[in-house]
Symmetry: C2
Subunit: 457 residues, 2 copies
């Protein structure tokens, strides 16, 4: 039986199962929901047991457990590791929900519930794809491993360690994740790049204590002014970063990537109006999507110093600090960039001040080769299911999990987003389009089949 | 009888009266002390009545009352307006006082109490000088007006209006104030210049709301970065202000002023160590006292924007604001400088941002001509009493009352400081040196006599 036919036959049950999964209040950040997280994990364990895995196991962590299952066929076959997360964001503000967040409701062709698109509805497509193979063929056409996390919404605090300690268990030839968005409704989308992150905190001191600006203004340097000068020296007025060596490792777009980018529909005027910016900003000679997705940036995320209450206080501040972060692109390295930024900051610090730099956060950028077999398999699968050529996009944000997986396994990561922007992830009335849930199952089947085929002798 | 002899004869009573004056908890800022302020004003009124003024009056305000007395002799004679304030700072932290703040105690040649040096002890020297003239000659040698304020420590909130409405009543040919400090112990000091102030608040906006720095970094400008660039554009790395026209009205020191400055003992290394600054800072080619007292400055007093909590948040801030102030020197005008600063800020604002500027505070600088008759009279008086030539200093801070008086009356203001730094003004264990209290009385007598003499036909 073809996948589409199977999905149509079992549509009601699939939606009923998804509704059960969405009824668990698996909010990871709030201890009051600890039972909800545990019950959700338990339900998933029971559900996976019905799909005849060769192994299924709950891995406790210091926080919420990880769920692992595998359908091992043969070491000769390729192995896909599917990742998803069963924890959800808090549902607040509750009063803005039209129907209760943990009472899933169908309307307007969508299922409404916290976690519908982020990420239960998306990862469940792959679980149902596995069911299809098991019920119709006894097994998937290749080895499949499934890893479901319960702490994604709180920074995946135990995942990195788990990956390192279980690299052998999780070994694979490709990773499949559906936790991104389609570029537009009905436009199948593969995300092939994410920006990395280098986050620093800078503190400047110019005296032992705050001073009177009348008595000492003109003989002691001002910590805020020094900090402003340092920060101003890190990028030019067009957003180009002026840290020496910052662009050394930055790859220009390939002709193929540039073409993919230029073919995407995009309205800059609409974006400007939506954001309420006087005009859009950025590097000269690069278009908006290129700047958002493929160019590194430097932003000040926060600054504080001196007197910030209402009215006037004539203090000469002795200390000021700022948080700043750089979005990185292939093939910049977060450690290398942190070192270069620190050197630039120290070089910009005048002898009238002392500077202290803390590294808060780092993640390398991700770039998945468009020509890799899993990516091309995903492309063919989506084209078949959606009836049109998928678009290749990057995203400007950083998903540390993806970078950890790429670093741990050294294999292509297929980011097959099935969600849509404006489906209310992290907001009230979160929902997931049923059509994408159902064709997501078929796309998953097609992907596993296509990818298995690339390894046929 | 000579003043010195009179003071020695009445020393015990003078100290006893000063102790009475200091026993009133006349804390102006705290409503709990309202009775203490009123009782202090009442005691002063009664005390002044014993000195046979031609007029004495309590002027109520919406806050604490002003006390006014005059010894009017003849419209032909010069008129000195003596200003002081009978309100004091709160005594907290109480546990750090060796003796209770409102139980005046004599030890180590000083009287300890809140208000001892700031300002009851200082202005009371002039009251006792008046007593000397009245008891020994029936009247002072010229017209004297005395204005005692009860709100100096809370910004003289009603004084400016009072001066404007009573300019005729207060008309004078010179003002005498003892509310500054001697440059060193036993070194008689006349302050002839104060810096003015222009205080602005600047707010920058680059979007309607904070954005995700991953999704939008590189296409929307960063409000903090813009603000930092604006602020960095207002002064150079050596503290020289780069606002166009900023120095147009700045007067260089006269040779006489420069000589006075260079003759002052000063240890820059000690100042640096005391402040805990890596090195001292400021305009090239100008010495430290010159920079502190006679050069205009621009300082950022506070800045805030974006995420300022602990850890990392990848926000692209839509708004940031800063407070900044400029210390002004003769003959800069606070209004003119505010307009120039605003123009410079607007010129530095890129098209990617909107800027809003608020004027919070302004005060013009003060410069009292060294050669004016009251100043020269004060110089001779101090030289006679202290047995050495007084030094002429400026101060880097701003005393709005002085500027208001100069503007209202257009006459020289004699700032005859009798206090010392480190006498604990605004701090625990405030005290006033008895030797300065007693020779301050003699100096006041000598000043009034000297100044009267300059108008003899």
């Amino acid at each position: 039986m073809e996948a589409l036919e199977y999905v149509e036959q079992h549509r009601e049950r699939f939606l009923s199962e998804l509704a059960q999964l969405l009824s668990f209040p698996s909010v990871s950040t709030d201890p009051a929901y600890r039972e909800g997280v545990a019950a959700c994990a338990q339900w998933l364990m029971e559900h996976l047991h019905t799909l005849q895995p060769t192994r299924v196991e709950l891995f406790p962590t210091a926080g919420h457990p990880l769920i692992y299952a595998e359908w091992q066929r043969s070491p000769e076959l390729p192995t896909v590791l599917i990742y998803g997360h069963y924890d959800v964001q808090p549902p607040d503000p509750l009063e803005l929900w039209e129907t209760p967040p943990f009472e899933p409701t169908l309307r307007n062709g969508c299922i409404y519930a916290r976690g519908a698109t982020d990420n239960k509805g998306q990862f469940f497509t792959h679980v149902k794809a596995l069911e299809y193979f098991i019920r119709t063929a006894g097994a998937p056409p290749l080895n499949v491993k499934l890893l479901l996390e319960g702490e994604e919404e709180i920074g995946s605090v135990h995942l990195q360690e788990f990956l390192q300690h279980n690299a052998e268990l999780l070994r694979c030839t490709a990773v499949l994740i559906s936790d991104t968005a389609m570029y537009q409704d009905d436009l199948p989308t593969l995300c092939y790049g994410l920006r990395g992150l280098c986050y620093l905190e800078v503190t400047v001191r110019t005296a032992a204590a705050d001073l009177h600006s009348g008595v000492f203004g003109g003989v002691v340097d001002n910590a805020i002014t020094v900090l402003c000068r340092i920060l101003s020296g890190l990028r030019d007025g067009y957003g180009r970063v002026t840290i020496p060596g910052f662009y050394d490792a930055v790859a220009e777009l390939t002709p193929e990537e540039r073409q993919a980018l230029e073919e995407l529909p995009f309205d800059a005027a609409q974006l400007r109006a939506q954001l309420g910016a006087p005009i859009l900003f950025g590097e000269v000679g690069r278009n908006v999507l290129e700047r958002r997705w493929t160019r590194p940036t430097l932003d000040i995320n926060g600054i504080i110093g001196g007197y910030t209450g209402s009215g006037a206080k004539t203090v000469l501040p002795a200390q000021a600090s700022a948080k700043l972060s750089m979005r990185l692109v292939p093939y910049q390295d977060a450690e290398d960039i942190a070192a270069k930024a620190e050197a630039a900051i120290r070089a910009l610090t005048p002898p009238t001040a002392q500077v202290e730099i803390r590294r808060l956060h780092g993640a390398n950028p991700v770039l998945i080769p468009l020509q890799s077999p899993p990516m091309q398999a995903a492309r063919r699968a989506l084209r078949r299911v959606f009836g049109r050529e998928p678009v290749f996009v990057r995203e400007g944000g950083t998903i540390p999990v993806v970078e950890w997986m790429q670093r741990t396994f050294g294999v292509p990561i297929v980011l097959m987003g099935l969600g849509l922007d404006h489906e209310g992830a992290h907001a009230p009335n979160e929902h997931f389009h049923l059509k994408n849930f159902l064709r997501g199952i078929v796309a998953s089947v097609e992907f596993l089949r296509e990818y298995a085929r690339t390894h046929e002798p």
